[in-house]
Amino acid sequence: MARGGGGGGATGGVYPPPQNPPTFHPLHPHAQVGGVPTHEVNSLELEFLFSINFALHVPTDVYERYYAELANHMGVGVPPELLAANTCDCARFVEHIAYDEESQAYTGAWLPSASTRQHENATLHRTPALTPTIAMCRHAVAGGDGG
C-alpha cells in the first residue's frame, strides 16, 4: 500500500472528494468535554489554509524526508519492532537506515518491492537545513523526555 504520496494525485487547492462518503461518527462520549465552539475550529482551519496558501499536497520525497527524520528520532527511544511494523516503502527504507560516521551521511538500501522505485544504496545526506523545526530539535528524544 503506497500511502507515502501524501495527497495521492490530488493537486488542487481543495480537499479531494473521498472515495467513500465520509462517515460521520457519533460523538465519542469521552470527547464530549471542552465546549469549544465549532465556528472557532472552522475559522482556525481557514486561517491555517490561507497561511500555507492551500498547499496541502506533500510530494513523496518530502514526506519521506520528514518520515526518515522522525523515524531517526524514534529509533532512539522506541523498540525497533515498531519500526518494522511499517508498511509503506519509505518505512522499509528507514528500517534499514544507518548513520555512517565517516561520510557523515545516512545510508540505507531499498528493500525489493513492487514499487517502481528501487534505489540501491540510496544515501540521505544529513543536511542541517532540512527543516527549521526538526533541525533545531535533533536528538530531542535522546534527551530522555520522549515518553
Partner: protein, 130 residues
Amino acid sequence: MATPGSNAATMERGKAFVQVLSCVLSRLVESNDALAASGGVEVPPITKFHALRPPSISILDYCTRIHRYASCSPECFVLALVYIDRLIQRNNLLLTSLNVHRIIITAVMLAAKFFDDQYFNNAYYAKVRG
C-alpha cells in the same frame, strides 16, 4: 474498510509517532519561549491561533489525546509536521506555548481530511480540542 488506527499495530505505531512529534515540538516551543522572553527577537503579531494564556495540558498529553480521539492514521502526524513547517516558513510566526496547541489540532485535522479516507467533521474536532 477498517477505520484508520483500528488495529493494535497501527495504534502502537501512532503512539510512537505522537511521542516523537510532541517531543520535537516541545523542544521547539521551549527554545522559542526562551527566545521571546529574552526579547532577542521581534514578537510576531497575534494571530487567531494565540491563546490568552498557555493551556495547562502538555504537548505530549495533547497529541496523545488527539491520537486517541481523532483516530487518524499515524501518517497524519508526519503530514501535520510538514504543514506546521510550511506555516512557519511562509509566515512570520513564532511557535510558542501560546499558539502551539491550536496549530497542532488544526494541522492534524487538515492532514486527516486531506489524506485519510475517513475523517470527522469540525464539530467533533472542536470537542477533541478541549
